[in-house]
């Protein structure tokens, strides 16, 4: 049997792997382990002295209503972002799939937000919807809504959700379009001949075939909602008003670098790790399940 593994020198292989492994250990694994360790200590501000406190930091999290609110907000935010971005992107990708003229142009105009720096997204929306000076503020207020996300929690929450969805559409369209292109043309023809309408074809024929891609995207979008949205909060709302947009990552940042609560912040890191780990595990199981009937 032909094999690619023609080289056998162990020290050469080790040398080739060394840079990646070294960086992984020093900057990824060791700090992650250390975060777990630190979460068991109370770290003195300034002195850096650490007192072992066991699970005290976790108990603090369990009893902090502020942290509970932050967890709840983040879950709501993630659900809103995942549902919002995936429905919007599915429609856009489907329409691109349906046309012949201008396909390439539509595709580029839909995937470009993938390149959009999150802080730029934040500043542009800050400008568009500024309660006093925004370009869209007066047109929206004509519908009887008082645009005031500086003091209205629900509005601020809605705003960061919209921005987060906007920025993530590009990434989703990239994968959804590729997945739709792999659907056999014969299937589309059969559905057409059977008189299946567009919407039903999308929901009952395409979506099931695309389910491995959709599962992958659901996980990637959730991870994005948890970790990739810091800049929006930092630029637009700073977690406010009154904690209405204080999602976990912003909360963690504030604890670590504004309050210097290193022990508690590390406990929050560990909680975040458990969440990502859980999500990756779910993705793995879902993909594994779907692998049997292809797609």
């Amino acid at each position: 049997m032909a094999t690619r593994e023609v080289f056998e020198s162990r020290w050469q292989a080790a040398a080739l792997l060394l840079p990646t492994v070294l960086v992984s250990i020093v900057f990824l694994y060791a700090p992650a382990v250390r975060a777990f360790e630190l979460s068991l200590f109370e770290v003195g501000f300034g002195t850096g002295e650490a007192d072992f406190v066991g699970l005290e930091n976790y108990r603090t999290l369990l009893t902090s209503s502020e942290y509970h609110l932050s967890v709840l907000l983040t879950v709501l935010f993630a659900v809103a972002v995942v549902v919002g971005v995936m429905s919007f992107s599915l429609v856009v990708s489907f329409l691109i799939h349906e046309v012949e003229v201008g396909k390439g142009l539509y595709l580029v105009s839909a995937i470009w937000p993938y390149a959009l720096p999150p802080a730029v997204a934040g500043f542009v929306f800050f400008f568009l919807l500024h309660p006093d000076l925004g370009v869209l503020t007066r047109p929206i207020e004509r519908f009887g809504v008082d645009v005031d996300w500086f003091s209205s929690g629900p509005q601020a929450f809605a705003l960061i959700t919209v921005v987060a969805v906007w920025k993530q559409v590009g990434y989703n369209v990239i994968f959804m379009s590729a997945s739709m292109n792999n659907i056999p043309g014969s299937l589309t023809e059969t559905a057409r001949l059977d008189g299946v309408g567009r919407l039903r074809r999308l929901l009952w024929v395409y979506a099931p075939i695309m389910s491995p891609t959709l599962a992958f995207l659901a996980v990637m979008n959730t991870i994005y909602a948890f970790f990739g949205t810091f800049a929006f909060i930092d630029v637009m709302t700073q977690g406010g008003p009154a904690g209405a947009t204080n999602i976990l990552i912003f909360d963690l940042y504030r604890d670590a670098l504004q309050n210097f609560e290193f022990g508690v912040a590390s406990a929050k890191s560990v909680v975040l790790f458990l969440i990502v780990g859980g999500l990756m595990y779910v993705q793995f199981r879902v993909t594994e399940k779907h692998a049997y009937y292809g797609g």
């Binding site: 080289f7 975060a35 780990g277």
Partner: protein
């Protein structure tokens, strides 16, 4: 047609022109697609483009205060705004810092990952699958998960406010290793066997055979890494000071400095457009290899 669309459309138009397609045929095919579908698609795409178009328009005006859609006409202040932002308010420094950071991360990640993948795919050594999993597992450890210790580690190394702080921690790349491995596994084994018979060493094989055969993938991966590095916000924000700060964080500075006059918004939008430009240009130019690379990532 918008500016972006026009730029993006150039290759398509050229192709059409060369293929000699008539406007009439195009209209007929448009009708075949269904005009309603095109109308729906065009409005959705416009919705996606609208915020950035506003930013572009505002960056050409003297005052950024526009309180209504009627004010959305380009002004005559383009040169003045971009000059003021880039030169007088020194936004070019942040752009350069971002460029340095992103370029170092792209080159570093590519080199380090190519070496690792060479070992993973072409060496018969024990435990290499475990090492591969060990590298992949780092996907579970984004910056927030190791935030405090990483901050203390980098500070302890004395790297605060150095380029090392915003590049070295990014050099290990599970995604790059994964994509390159998939690609190398699709290259016929006979190539490496012949190379070995001819006495070609592993590094020479990488340099002379693998890299020339992987140009598309390497371009695609480079764009992905560049966009990823350029769009890093939280880590540079906390670990480097103003001297080395990146464009995204610099936007906040720009707004602060411009706040003195009533032109703050025009200049902030100018900075926003500038910050968006490099990754956007790469995406548009290299969309084909980028899309191909993504299709490997999903396999």
């Amino acid at each position: 047609m918008t500016l972006l669309e026009t730029i993006v459309d150039v290759p398509n138009r050229a192709a059409e022109y060369l293929s000699g397609e008539r406007t009439g045929d195009r209209l007929a095919r448009l009708r075949e697609d269904g005009l309603a579908v095109h109308a729906a698609l065009a409005s959705l795409v416009l919705l996606l483009l609208f915020p950035v178009l506003v930013a572009v328009i505002v960056s050409t005006k003297e005052s950024g205060i526009i309180t209504g859609l009627g004010g959305l006409v380009p002004g005559g202040n383009t040169y003045a705004n971009y000059y003021r932002a880039l030169v007088e308010l020194e936004f070019y420094r942040y752009m350069l810092n971002s460029l340095v950071m992103a370029s170092v991360v792209v080159v570093g990640k590519l080199v380090v990952s190519l070496l690792a993948v060479l070992a993973v795919v072409y060496y018969r050594v024990p435990y290499k699958d475990i090492v591969f999993l060990f590298i992949l597992f780092t996907l579970l450890l984004p910056v927030p998960v190791r935030f405090v210790p990483l901050y203390r580690l980098v500070t302890g190394l004395g790297w605060n406010n150095t380029v090392l702080a915003i590049t070295v921690p990014y050099l290990a790349s599970a995604t790059t290793v994964f994509v390159l491995r998939q690609h190398f596994l699709s290259i016929p084994p006979s190539l490496v066997e012949n190379a070995k018979l001819d006495g070609v060493g592993p590094l020479e094989f990488l340099w002379r055979v693998l890299i020339p055969m992987s140009k598309g993938i390497l371009v695609g991966v480079s764009v992905i890494i560049f966009v990823y590095a350029w769009n890093q916000y939280l880590w540079p924000l906390v670990i480097v000071g103003d001297d080395l700060q990146v464009a995204q964080v610099g936007l906040g500075q720009l707004r602060g400095q411009a706040q003195a006059g009533d032109v703050a918004w025009a200049l902030t939008m100018t900075g926003s457009v500038l910050t968006l430009l490099p990754p956007l240009v790469l995406l548009v130019l290299f969309r084909k290899p980028l899309l191909e690379t993504f299709s490997i990532q999903r396999k």
